[in-house]
């Protein structure tokens, strides 16, 4: 293998070897290299000292009331009314959602594939056209009638004028 220090490749192998975390195949390669490379051997030796020194650093245990304080903070979090309303139902939602989606798909399929007369756009257009023609004709008749009424004088009016 290439020297990790000289080639600057696989420098992590030195760290992992020192920590005893390198797999057996690579560890055997590294062990053979260390026999002939005093520089890498020196680094591994120093790294093992560092590793052991770090192992001695034990943090203090977590406070006994850690969870109590945490849950108090969680309880103090404002929850929306929707969240509070639906929270008890949440465990049941998950199995129901695929079923509801399947039902929705079936209903949509049935609706889309059912032929309906009222949905034929050509028919409705004809009907609209027919209706509007009749309406125009009737309106014209009405206007003609009104015109005639306006032209012909009322019989009472003509009588009073002659007197």
């Amino acid at each position: 293998m290439n020297c990790p220090i000289k080639s600057q490749e696989n420098t992590d192998w030195l760290l992992e070897y020192s920590a005893g975390r390198l797999d057996s195949e690579h560890a055997a390669l590294m062990a053979r290299h260390l026999e002939t490379c005093p520089e890498c051997a020196r680094i591994v030796h120093a790294q093992q000292r560092v590793w052991n020194a770090l192992s001695q650093w034990e943090p203090e245990p977590v406070s006994a009331d850690f969870d109590r304080r945490l849950y108090r903070k969680i309880d103090a979090q404002p929850a929306s009314w929707i969240d509070r309303l639906f929270r008890p139902l949440r465990p049941f939602w998950r199995p129901v959602v695929p079923l509801a989606a399947a039902c929705l798909l079936i209903v949509a399929g049935v609706v889309l594939h059912t032929p309906r007369a009222s949905l034929n756009p050509a028919d409705s257009q004809v009907r609209v056209e027919n209706t509007s023609a009749e309406q125009v004709e009737r309106t014209l008749d009405d206007m003609q009638m009104l015109r005639e009424l306006a032209v012909t004088p009322a019989p009472e009016e003509s009588t009073s004028k002659s007197m």
């Binding site: 760290l15 560092v50 001695q56 903070k73 969680i74 949440r90």
Partner: protein, 192 residues
């Protein structure tokens, strides 16, 4: 194999929390309370602050349950939150109280726990001096190097996972760790 099983189990627990199962949150808390707290303690080196930050980590996990998606390993997500909080705290405190506390605890530190341990006073003092040297050597590392070393040494995280937590490449983590350990090798060279 084991890592993927752990991924599934932790992510599954978190998904149950998302569904309103409070007991699953308790299981995650039991599993990671100590490792998160200890990581934060070694990062900020203040017991009170580290516990407050650890509480904030779990509070954020709980608050994020609604939007949680198991895109990455649960521990990657968890330690990303923890690292983010620790780095922010260090950044905010670095120029002010952190240095003062560090100096103060350097003077007071060795005598702090002597009475709590059963070993002889002499052994205890040797131990305390050693730990204090380690603590100072780690504290002197740049923040990101410190986080990488702590995750590598104590959490036994893989390079790829540390890279995800620190949002950098795997090769950057390798270089970060090599430089950090190089500094520690010099600083702790006298330790047997």
């Amino acid at each position: 194999m084991g890592a993927s099983a752990a991924l599934d189990y932790d992510a599954e627990l978190m998904l149950r929390v998302k569904d309103g199962d409070e007991a699953s949150f308790g299981l995650l808390l039991d599993k990671y309370r100590a490792s998160v707290s200890h990581f934060l303690y070694r990062m900020v080196q203040d017991q009170g602050v580290s516990e407050e930050l650890a509480q904030e980590v779990f509070l954020r996990v709980y608050k994020s349950r609604e939007t949680y998606e198991p895109a990455a390993k649960f521990t990657t997500w968890l330690f990303r939150i923890a690292t983010h909080l620790a780095l922010n705290w260090l950044r905010d405190e670095k120029n002010e109280r952190a240095q003062e506390r560090l100096d103060q605890s350097t003077e007071d530190g060795p005598a702090r726990e002597v009475a709590d341990r059963a070993a002889t006073v002499e052994q205890q003092m040797v131990y305390e001096v050693k730990v204090e040297e380690v603590r100072c050597a780690v504290a002197a590392l740049p923040d990101k190097q410190r986080a990488a070393v702590l995750m590598h040494k104590y959490e036994e995280m893989e390079y790829s996972q540390i890279a995800k937590v620190l949002s950098c490449s795997e090769s950057a983590v390798k270089s970060l760790l090599f430089r950090a350990y190089e500094t520690l090798r010099v600083r702790l060279a006298h330790m047997a």
